[in-house]
């Protein structure tokens, strides 16, 4: 693929001879052979890259005006909203950008899960993805603490307190994290530092993620291996334009939030400055953490809850081996497909339950939903691989997409 590129201009030749960067980009972003049957669920990788870059750029400018000090942070954010040129725009993009980032990543992961993109030979792409997801969670959590509103403060208190569940060393660990004997300005400054750092770590992982992707190439909705040439098209312009189209539609939703209801996904309590003496009635995390929050609270024991919550994410890394089926795409897995949708509904239900107080019926439902979440991966995935009789796979991805006529001529040729 990359051998096809020949630098044309003198400058390009000069550079490429010394550092073949043009060849590299041309190979990976222009000619890269991509299955021709990818659907729109495959556009979220590009969308996620856009989200990451958007967060980094808006974040950099916000950091020029933000003050990480317990007494000044809240007012400095309001200063950005009121006095900095287009500060309101930067802040609303950054805050809603986090939500859009999570919408995209959840869809991206659901796509990979449905089409078996985590299976041989793409296990590492998936595992790197799980680490990206983990870092995204940490980044978003710490970012939410920075405006130092009531939810920032009490959310940080609840989550950092989880470390006190560690046997013997719990208190020492929490005090070390806080840099104090409670959540205070010391925690705020270190969270700011880490919040600034982590997106660049994510960026590094994304490069590895795409590098690993470009070894076997993309999976596709049929889940079968492609024949280069016959089944593929060059990435540019086919997928560049398709990805940009999807991105622009995504941006319409994004802009709708930023410009017309910028606070709808936030909590009104975060416009009250942090007050260590006054606990809000309900402490709820951001919406994208709610399913994991529900799992945390489903376990009656603090340490147990923490272990369950961490396991809920960690277990994702083992999926390539928990799934025993050789067939990638759920399109050809009639039985597994049903449980796939059950998992999706279960996850949404967990999210809903995470927003309610964990009592009565909510608690019971929360426990059942948590149970299914784990059973899905530990029991359902391995077992179905043995039980299920998959539908017959097409011989190549060109086959199911040929029209009736083409199929006839093709079979005529073969005869």
């Amino acid at each position: 693929m990359s051998d096809d590129y020949e630098p044309q201009s003198a400058v390009a030749k000069w550079i490429d001879k010394r550092l073949p960067i043009i060849t590299l980009f041309s190979g990976h972003l222009m000619q890269f052979p991509t299955p021709k049957n990818l659907n729109y669920w495959w556009t979220f990788g590009g969308i996620l890259t856009f989200c990451l870059i958007t967060q980094i750029i808006t974040g950099l400018v916000l950091a020029m005006h933000y003050i990480a000090d317990a007494n000044l942070a809240f007012a400095s954010v309001e200063h950005i909203m009121r006095d900095v040129n287009y500060g309101w725009l930067l802040r609303y993009i950054h805050a809603n950008g986090a939500s859009m980032f999570f919408i995209a990543v959840y869809l991206h992961m659901a796509r990979s899960l449905f089409y078996g993109s985590y299976k041989e030979p793409r296990e590492l792409i998936w595992i790197i993805g799980v680490f990206i997801f983990l870092l995204m969670i940490a980044t978003a959590f710490m970012g939410y603490v920075l405006p130092w509103g009531q939810m920032s403060f009490w959310g940080a208190t609840v989550i950092t307190n989880l470390f006190s569940a560690v046997p013997f060393f719990g208190e020492a660990i929490t005090n070390w994290l806080w840099g104090d004997y409670s959540v205070s300005g010391a925690l705020l400054t270190r969270f700011f530092t880490l919040h600034y750092l982590m997106p660049f770590l994510i960026f590094g992982l994304v490069i590895l993620h795409i590098w690993a992707l470009h070894v076997p190439g993309n999976n596709n909705p049929e889940g079968i291996d492609v024949v280069k040439g016959q089944d593929t098209v060059p990435f540019h312009p086919h997928y560049v334009v398709k990805d940009v189209l999807a991105l622009v539609v995504f941006m319409i939703v994004f802009a709708g939030l930023v410009f017309f209801s910028p606070n709808i996904l936030g909590h009104s309590d975060n416009y009250i400055q942090a007050n260590p003496l006054q606990t809000p009635e309900h402490i709820v995390p951001e919406w994208y953490f709610l399913p994991f929050y529900a799992i945390l609270r489903a376990i009656p024991d603090k340490l147990g809850g923490v272990i369950a919550m961490v396991s809920a994410i960690a277990i994702l890394a083992f999926i390539p081996w928990l799934d025993t089926s050789k067939v990638r795409s759920s399109k050809y897995r009639p039985l597994y497909r049903q449980f796939y949708w059950l998992l999706i509904v279960d996850f949404i239900l967990l999210g809903y339950l995470g927003s309610q107080s964990a009592t009565g019926i909510y608690l019971i439902l929360g426990r059942l939903a948590t149970l299914y979440y784990f059973l899905h991966f530990i029991l359902v995935m391995p077992l179905i691989g043995f039980i299920e009789k998959p539908k017959p796979l097409p011989k190549s991805i060109s086959e199911p997409v040929l029209t009736k006529e083409e199929q006839l001529t093709k079979s005529g040729q073969m005869a």
Binding site: W88, V248, A255, V258, Y271, V345, I348, L349, L402
Partner: protein, 259 residues
């Protein structure tokens, strides 16, 4: 099958839980007047904001600070848009501490446009002791800091009733208010008919005053609202046109590929 069953279960869970929410509700749904600034194209009503500023200064500012707002904001586009002369005169009605001067002394001077709204209290403790222990919160972002927003603040100002229902026992310095949490609040009724004399001649009914001051607080919480919606409209129109163009470009590119 399982898909349908799970959707059914989800709906069931929702119905059951919603009934719980209302049973445990300790707040009343606020009134919902028509706000000029609601909706995707809504704007503030200048005259309303100007009257609202008057209500704030004459009624609320004796108890509530607005630390995040400066007098210069009163002149800015998208706000009450007082003239610079008017705003300077308004600022000059307050005194701020300045200095130190050449002798190392602090002194008082009239406020100027670049000053923040002058707080009624030297510190939180003074505010507390003057209000029976309850600190009147800063009002700058109040409308964004309560669920229900402007509707809630408006309703709260009008929610006082003389008849306290049976079963509600009020401590000293606590008042009955239909829209407050648990129907109790430490702020007395402050909006009364003709509590201010509007400079523009509008009749100062309770409803009018509550609406004006709430609109003013909605502006102070979100001073860039008009600019935001104006730019947003353009951005979305642009993106929609762009998406159409890309749609056809994409179609064209894929025309010869069977997939």
């Amino acid at each position: 099958m399982i898909k349908r069953l799970s959707i059914f279960l989800l709906l069931l869970a929702h119905t059951v839980s919603m009934s719980f929410v209302f049973a445990s509700e300790e707040m009343h749904v606020p009134m919902q007047p028509d706000w000029s600034f609601q909706g995707p194209l809504g704007k503030f009503d200048r005259a309303e904001l100007q009257r609202g500023y008057q209500v704030y200064t004459e009624v609320c500012s004796s108890c509530h600070s607005m630390d995040l707002v400066s007098y210069r904001n009163l002149v800015q586009e998208g706000g009450p848009e007082f003239s610079e002369k008017q705003a300077k005169a308004m600022a000059a009605m307050f005194e701020v501490e300045a200095g130190p001067d050449a002798d190392g002394e602090m002194f008082m001077r009239p406020a100027i446009l670049s000053d923040k709204f002058v707080s009624p209290w030297k510190n939180e403790q003074e505010g507390r002791i003057s209000n029976g222990g309850a600190y009147p919160p800063d009002l700058s972002v109040m409308v964004k800091a309560r669920s229900g927003g402007a509707d809630y603040v408006y309703s709260l100002l009008l929610g006082y009733e003389d008849e306290v229902p049976e079963g509600i026992i009020l401590d000293d310095g606590v008042y009955y208010n239909v829209y407050a949490k648990n129907q109790r609040i430490a702020m007395p009724q402050v909006i009364y008919e003709d509590g201010v004399e509007y400079t523009d001649g509008t009749a100062a009914t309770e409803v009018q005053m509550a609406k004006d001051v709430t609109a003013f607080l909605a502006w102070s919480a979100e001073p860039k609202l008009e600019e935001r919606k104006r730019i947003g409209f353009k951005v979305i129109v642009y993106l929609i046109i762009l998406s159409f163009l890309l749609y056809f470009t994409n179609k064209r590119i894929w025309r010869d590929t069977s997939h």
